[in-house]
């Protein structure tokens, strides 16, 4: 059974259809990438999978391990193992990072996993891997974070929450080369060698050099117009999206 299956999905916002029939299957342990230009429907796909209330599904289905997600609230999806790394993570002034992480792990992984020295050890290890200093814990969630800090914090959450399916929306944007490498290592540590899966949404192929995808899909105007192996990303980088339009 697929980990994630998207079936002929038509969806949009405010009555505008953005996704015009998407089909996608991700198996356990697989990493897929969706590439496409601005406005092609990449972020809409991410929001629909996570259950953003503003987006409307007209037809089709999104299944996690055979079970439809569409009727579930986003927090219920999170508890079933869906994770979204946001393109624009939201600031919550006054909410301390450490406190928030513990609460999130408790609600998604269960109270036991959020307690005691085992949690602290995992946290310390993940922070070290992502080059996040200890002082980070007492800051407020995304409040005054630089672009790079926000992205590292998203991946820190990914590593602690250990989802079944991670959707990474433009995680590489706004990161320098070192940042992309660090964040990619985090993604690899969280997904590779497990039976979880990931969907990486990106403009550029750079992150895909560090997180080797099993499949690359190209989204154009709400439809997947091409799918292939990692070489598709390289080809896109060389020739641009226009090339696909011409074909």
């Amino acid at each position: 059974m697929s980990l994630l299956e998207i079936k002929d999905l038509h969806a949009g916002i405010d009555g505008n259809e953005i996704l015009k029939g998407i089909n996608l299957k991700i198996g356990p342990g697989e990493i897929h990438a969706i590439m496409g230009r601005n406005g092609s429907g990449k972020t809409t796909t991410a929001n629909i999978i996570m259950g953003h209330p503003d987006f409307e599904v007209e037809s089709g289905d999104v299944l996690l391990e055979g079970e439809s997600l569409l009727e579930l609230e986003s927090w219920e999806r999170a508890r079933k193992g869906v994770f979204l790394s946001f393109q624009y993570p939201q600031a919550v002034p006054g909410l301390q990072v450490g406190n928030f992480l513990r609460k999130s792990v408790a609600s998604i992984r269960g109270e036991e996993e959020a307690k005691g020295s085992a949690f602290r050890e995992r946290l310390t290890k993940a922070m070290e891997a992502l080059d996040i200093p200890r002082t980070f814990m007492s800051r407020y969630v995304n409040d005054g974070f630089s672009g790079g800090e926000k992205k590292r914090f998203e991946i820190l959450q990914l590593m602690l929450l250990k989802p079944r399916l991670a959707v990474l929306d433009e995680t590489d944007s706004g990161l320098d080369i070192d940042g992309i490498r660090t964040v990619s290592e985090g993604v690899n540590a969280a997904i590779r060698g497990s039976d979880s899966g990931a969907l990486i949404i990106t403009h550029y192929s750079r992150i895909l050099e560090h997180v080797q995808p099993d499949m690359v899909h190209v989204l154009l105007d709400g439809k997947i117009v091409s799918s292939g192996g990692p070489e598709l990303a390289t080809k896109l980088e060389e020739k641009g999206y226009e090339w696909l339009k011409q074909e």
């Binding site: 939201q90 909410l95 998604i108």
Partner: protein, 470 residues
Amino acid sequence: MGDNSEARGAVGEYKAGWHDPEDSTIRFDFGLSEEVVREISKLKNEPQWMTDIRVKAFNHFSKRKMPTWGNMSMLEEIDFDNICYYLRSSESTEKDWDDVPEDIRNTFERLGIPEAEQKWLSGVTAQYESEAVYHSIREDLESQGVIFLDMDSGLREYPDLVKKWFCSVVPYSDNKFSALNTAVWSGGSFIYVPEGVHVEMPVQAYFRINAKNMGQFERTLIIADKGSSIHYVEGCTAPTYSTDSLHSAVVELIALPGSHIRYSTIQNWSSNVYNLVTKRGIAHENAKIEWVDGNIGSKLTMKYPAVILKGEGSHAEVISVAYSGEGQHQDAGAKIHHLASNTTSKILSKSISKNGGRGSYRGMVTVSPKADNCKLNVVCDALILDEGSRSDTYPTMEVANATARCEHEASVSKVSDEQLFYLMSRGHSEEESLAMIVNGFFEPFTRELPMEYAVELNQLMALEMEGSIG
């Protein structure tokens, strides 16, 4: 106690809304007259000067008009003839919880007071209706000369000290409700901290109204002598009734040179209580007064903790939060008067309104012409949780000295769908997410509280967010 669980179930979200059977030993008839005022004074065996000041205050109250600001239509609804001005439920103030009548003791146990006392307080006074029913102070403080009594005992045991300072910061003629309080006051705390003594752990007062249509008028006087320090914490709750009660306190703080008084309040009256309180302190040279003021409950609160910076180098801080839910209006703020040079002040006000509630910040900061090099900082933030709710800001600054440095910031924000979605995507329900945002908004306030109170306040706000998502 038999009907408590039912009463508790019926009141829904408000946790402290149960009531005990009314079992008073002395209860005055409804309504107020000079006779009632004299009767209270006589009952308490007070010196003549106190009787006289009560009567003067009553006459002033009778003539004085209602405030013309705040919420005038709500104020006009107060029926002064339908309030009980004095009610005693216990014969005496006990030093041992075991001697407190059982119903009353159970109530305070449910509110967690004896437990808190054992763990982390220097002293406790518990007031039920008009009188303190329990009082204690740690022996080591007593032996250092710290006086911590209920106000009635204070007047009996230290009449000269009380006479010297009573009404010295808040004259009875200050406003209609300070006049009312001075006329019928009963209970409250009297504290004197001797020169150089630091009271490390907070002392706490807890005020509980139990009866219907009750008026509670405690009076608190705190004097910190030179170089001393104290942290006073008060909490308050009442049962939920369909008729209104009135809580009208007066608090006077005197911070002598180099001393430090911090006064923290978590006000969680039920939504049928009018909370009209006058709080003011005088800070002498290099003294520091801080009001940490949380207003969560009540029907209408009008309260503007004030500091008069009388001595050079003195400092004032007012940190407040207000939560206004359905049918509630929190009209709160701060007043600071810079009368001396090199004085500094900081006001931080945070308000949340929800379900049609109304929060107002009303603040005044003045700098007198003679006060050089003063620094003022005012920040007020409002968070509005839904469409029908309201937030207003009425800041006033009167600066008559050009050397003053003034900073003022105000913001009004709404909870965004994107913020909620972000938190929900981390496994938190919509209510939990909202509580996280709200508690985060209040965090600059809660971090000033002793940890136990901060936890309680966060739980209280989480409870307020329940059932709020339509």
